[in-house]
């Protein structure tokens, strides 16, 4: 189980990072979303993986999942959404103003800025 969760986090982060490094705004946004998924799962899993132990206090239950990372992640999801929405709109506005959706505001027109 631990390996599965760790692998999922790793794959989401890796895919996110790769997309962030693309040259157009839209993949960057998608990449950010993937990374925020990975980070949320990571934070959540620091409270360890519990099965059928939700943090709802009842008289018969004795052990509970750790509620603190859950509370943190809940707000992180909402804030993450605010960030993604902002970046999406920023990308939209940039492409409207600059007439290109390249991350540098101008397409790579032969003059390679970064090493080949």
């Amino acid at each position: 189980m631990e390996i599965l969760v760790a692998a999922s986090v790793g794959v989401m982060v890796a895919c996110g990072v790769y997309l962030i490094l693309r040259a157009r705004t839209f993949p960057v946004v998608v990449g950010l979303t993937l990374i925020s998924f990975g980070v949320n799962i990571f934070l959540f899993a620091t409270g360890r993986l519990h099965t059928n132990l939700p943090a709802i206090i009842t008289s018969e239950q004795i052990r509970y999942a750790d509620p603190l990372p859950q509370a943190l992640v809940l707000t992180a999801i909402v804030i993450g959404f605010a960030m993604i929405a902002f970046v999406v709109v920023l990308a939209l506005r940039a492409s409207g103003e600059l007439h290109t959706d390249h991350v540098d505001g101008q397409p790579d027109d032969g003059r390679q800025k970064d090493g080949p």
Binding site: L4, G16, L68, Q70, V89, L92, D104
Partner: protein, 942 residues
């Protein structure tokens, strides 16, 4: 509390003068606030004169040693009296000085802001608190110098003053931190008692130099003197108040305050005395050549500040006494002179000594007052300046001085005194005597009475103190010096006649020398013109700044080539290096002791779907719509994972956020290219693959390391107190709205800000998306699908009811404001999708701005509510209520807070989505025009 109010009253009341449009009310409100403050200060007088130090302390951030503490020592009292007394005179004067077209309310606001900050400096008990006020004076000085914002010299002068004093303040903060570190406390009472510990500490030299840097920049000591003359671009009342009487004295105030702690060492003596002496002589010399009245007075101010610094550098009890006395005297005569210069400027239209001449006939009162002021400035007997200057000259002859100091000090002092006489004569003689000037911009005449009252009062003080020093200034100066010196208070003698002694001889030499200098001024001017070409602080400062900008540009140009991809790669690369480096030398086993568990088949399949969907997102990223679908799959799997691992709240939140995110991305994609072109070279591609595999591998490895270590949590507290303390059994929700409610408040604030920013980004924004799809076919318009339309409409009330249910049960079962808000958003958006904006918008035309703001207000008011009943911010309470039919149920104040969360979430997300939907849509325009028409019809109907 009264003590704290002395400083807080002007600070808190600063905005009041701004509220009036009437100039008399502007001035009167400022005067009343300053007057109240003065009253509060005078209430402390009996205690202060009897030698007590009234204290007011409240804990603020104890972990940092920051307390909200004020003290009224004799020295602080003297300063506060100067600030408020002269401040009131300035308020009166400025009423007549500031022109009708200038924003007078703003002027008084800045002035009160400054007044409060300055009072904060002189009355602070805690060094860090003092620092806060110190920086506030820099800011208010910046605002006041730049009051006439349309003038270039005002902006330059304000900028220069801010850079120099704030830079010095930065050094001083470092010095204070060291001082606090050495003493172990930031309270002045502790620090003043720890002089020996501080001086014996190895960090003493660094501490001293850092603090001196702050004090010297603020008090315009050499080599930082040049900002002050350029600050004269400020309105004259400001120059009189900030840049001669009070703010520039903050530096010497601090030096004097810390004399018991820092002085007495050779280092202190050398630096402070030498700096003071150089400033004293150099600035007095410069003052002789200034044709601008305010420029002359500015250099004279620098010189007098040098004199005070010099005295404090000597550090003997009598020297400190003389310094305190001179602070008082200088404030009186220099503020008065500035005000008089302002009157001359105001009534004649110029401040140029070369143009002004023979004004004594047309402005006799102003002339008489200026005679007094210049007499005091030159150190002529019967005026107050003479007395402190005598003490100063006597101190330069003190027997303790040896070697070269024994003649350099008196020689420098006499030279500076002679310069002072020369520039005083020049100012007086040049402006008021001689042939009446004829080509002045306006016809000279006496100013209105209200304008002359303030300088007249100050000059009266000069004369009265000059003749009866022991009666008028004695107790105040004694209390001031006594607060610094404590038991070392020397026997002093304040009287006009000290007997025929060496100091008097020096005084006579200086007076005679000054007259000679003035008569020979033409030769001095010739010599000076040569020098000034080569030495100008402002040019030097500006070339230094432009050099630094140039270097900055070079470095920036080299490291920042504008390629976002490069920055991201560098950023991720550095994060990798930093993340890996701690593990390189660490020999502990990477994995912990907790055994691994075997996944059940369902979870395994879920995980594999998640992993493949994430990879598919990358693989399909060129075809953007496919990529979004894959991303949505990942999001769904994430929410299932939350559900699988006992986090129902997270699962609900994730799934609704996922929905909204995908809708948002689809809407954006409508206006963006559908396809990502192939651009990256294969080399770049491989670099990125290596980077991302390393990043992902790192994240997975750390995750493994965490998961295999024993579990230790602080959550037991929350689990134990959730029901008895928070009244809710859903611990996650109770944490959000109760235990950590303040965090949540911050979070919804961020959400609201994001909503506003997005709205602003999209406002008046026009973009034309692609006209064809990816294959080049033009779009076809289609009717809204009838089945969807018919299903969604009855769904609306049901879903809203469901969100109410989710909201209400949130405290005890999975749910709450966040989730309910997201569900509401989802169902509203569904209406827009199914029926289109033309149908939907008029039916739900709530103002999303208002809903969003209402949410924040509700949350805040709930928080403040607990103040009313005497509990800390956001303390919650709950009770059980029994109603007929419904039965027993619970009401918690946290639910009101949760309602705020709900409204903020709904308002901000709807704001964003609806705004996004209206750009580039012909339907949206129809909606907005029909809206307007409806409104017009409504208006006509009324």
């Amino acid at each position: 509390m009264n003590i704290a109010l002395i400083a807080l009253l002007p600070l808190l009341g600063a905005f009041i003068p701004c509220l009036f449009y009437n100039r008399n009310l502007n001035a009167a409100s400022a005067g009343v606030i300053a007057g109240f403050s003065l009253l509060l200060l005078l209430l402390q007088a009996p205690a202060v004169f009897s030698g007590d130090i009234p204290l007011y302390t409240r804990s603020w951030i104890p972990a940092m040693g920051l307390t909200f503490a004020f003290r009224v020592s004799g020295f602080g009292f003297l300063f506060a009296l100067l600030v408020l007394g002269i401040g009131l005179l300035i308020v009166l004067y400025a009423r007549y000085y500031i022109a009708a077209e200038d924003p007078m309310g703003r002027f008084y606001t800045y002035l009160l802001f400054f007044m409060g900050s300055m009072l904060g400096i002189v009355l602070s008990e805690n060094l860090l608190l003092l620092m806060v006020f110190w920086e506030l004076t820099s800011i208010s000085s910046f605002l006041l110098i730049g009051f006439w914002r349309d003038r270039t010299d005002a902006r330059q002068g304000a900028f220069m003053a801010l850079v120099i004093t704030a830079g010095g303040g930065f050094a001083m903060l470092a010095g204070f931190l060291l001082l606090g570190h050495i003493v172990g406390s930031f309270e002045l009472t502790d620090i003043l008692a720890a002089g020996q510990i501080v001086q014996a500490h190895p960090l003493y030299p660094v501490t001293l130099i850092l603090i001196l840097a702050g004090a010297f920049t603020k008090s315009a000591q050499f080599p930082f003197q040049f900002w002050l003359p350029h600050a004269m671009a400020a309105p004259t009342p400001v120059s009189a108040f900030l840049h001669s009487a009070t703010m520039v004295k903050a530096g010497v105030f601090l030096l004097a305050l810390l004399v018991p702690v820092l002085s007495g060492t050779a280092l202190w003596f050398t630096i402070v005395t030498a700096t003071g002496l150089i400033t004293l002589v150099f600035a007095a010399y410069m003052a002789m050549f200034k044709d601008d009245l305010k420029g002359l007075l500015a250099y004279s101010t620098v010189s007098h500040l040098g004199l005070i610094t010099f005295l404090l550098g000597l550090g003997t009890p009598l020297a400190v006494f003389a310094a305190v006395f001179h602070i008082f005297n200088h404030a009186a005569f220099k503020a008065g002179l500035f005000l008089l210069a302002g009157i001359i400027d105001h009534e004649t239209g110029t401040r140029d000594i070369l143009r002004l001449s023979g004004l004594k006939k047309t402005m006799p009162v102003t002339a008489a007052l200026t005679v007094i002021g210049s007499g005091a400035m030159a150190g002529v007997p019967l005026f107050n300046g003479f007395l402190s200057k005598e003490m100063f000259l006597a101190e330069t002859l003190a027997p303790g001085l040896t070697g070269a100091w024994s003649w350099i000090l008196p020689a420098g002092a006499v030279l500076a005194a002679a310069f002072a006489v020369a520039y005083s004569i020049r100012m007086l003689h040049g402006v008021f005597w001689g042939k009446p000037a004829e080509d002045l911009p306006s016809h000279p005449h006496e100013p209105p009475v209200g304008m002359i009252l303030s300088p007249a009062f100050l000059m009266a003080v000069c004369v009265l103190v000059g003749i009866f020093p022991a009666f008028f200034a004695g107790p105040l100066v004694k209390a001031g010096a006594g607060a610094i010196l404590g038991p070392d208070m020397p026997p002093y003698h304040m009287a006009v006649w000290h007997g025929f002694n060496m100091a008097l001889i020096l005084s006579i030499i200086a007076l005679a020398g000054g007259v000679v200098f003035y008569r020979q001024r033409q030769r001095l001017f010739d010599a000076h013109v040569w020098c000034s070409r080569n030495l100008d602080g402002k040019t030097l400062f500006e070339s230094l700044v432009s050099q630094m900008v140039h270097i900055g540009e070079m470095v920036t140009g080299y490291t920042e080539n504008g390629s976002f991809q490069r920055y991201s790669a560098l950023l991720i690369g550095s994060a990798l290096v930093l993340g890996v480096s701690p593990f390189v030398r660490d020999s502990a086993p990477f994995l912990g002791s907790v055994p691994l568990t075997i996944p059940d088949p369902v979870t395994l399949v879920m995980g594999l779907i998640l992993i493949s969907a994430a990879i598919a997102t990358v693989v399909t990223h060129r075809i953007r719509i496919l990529s979004i679908i894959m991303l949505g799959t990942v999001g769904l799997m994430v929410s299932l994972a939350f559900s699988r691992f006992s986090a129902p709240d997270l699962a609900l939140t994730q799934i609704s956020v996922e929905l909204v995110t995908i809708i948002l991305m689809m809407m954006a994609l409508h206006m963006l290219p559908r396809i990502t072109p192939k651009e990256s070279s294969s080399c770049r591609k491989w670099r990125d693959i290596v980077l991302s595999v390393l990043a992902g591998g790192g994240a997975a490895a750390v995750m493994m390391a965490v998961l295999t270590r024993p579990f230790d949590t602080i959550s037991d507290f929350f689990l134990a107190h959730s029901v008895p303390g928070g009244g809710g059994s859903n611990v996650v929700n109770v944490i959000l709205v109760d235990f950590r409610g303040f965090d949540t408040l911050g979070e919804i604030t961020v959400l609201v800000i994001a909503g506003l920013v997005i709205y602003a980004l999209l406002h008046n924004f026009d973009i034309t998306g692609p006209r064809t799809d990816a294959q080049g076919y033009p779009w076809s318009r289609d009717r809204f699908p009838i089945i969807l339309v018919n299903i969604t409409r009855p769904l609306l009330p049901l879903a809203l009811l469901f969100s109410v249910y989710i909201f209400l049960r949130g405290h005890n079962d999975p749910g709450g404001g966040f989730i309910a808000g997201l569900i509401t958003v989802a169902v509203l958006i569904l209406q827009y999708i199914a029926s289109g904006i033309v149908w939907t918008r008029p039916r739900f035309h709530f103002d999303n701005h208002v809903i969003m703001a209402l949410g924040l207000i509700v949350a805040l008011v709930t928080g403040f509510g607990s103040w009313v009943v005497g509990y800390p911010f956001l303390t919650s309470t709950f009770a059980y209520v029994t109603l007929p039919l419904v039965g027993k149920f619970e009401i918690a104040s946290a639910m009101a807070f949760d309602l705020g969360v709900y409204l903020a979430v709904v308002g901000s997300i709807m704001l964003v989505l609806v705004k996004l939907g209206t750009i580039n849509s012909s339907d949206a325009q129809i909606v907005s025009t029909t809206f307007q028409r409806e409104k017009e019809i409504q208006k006509e109907g009324h």
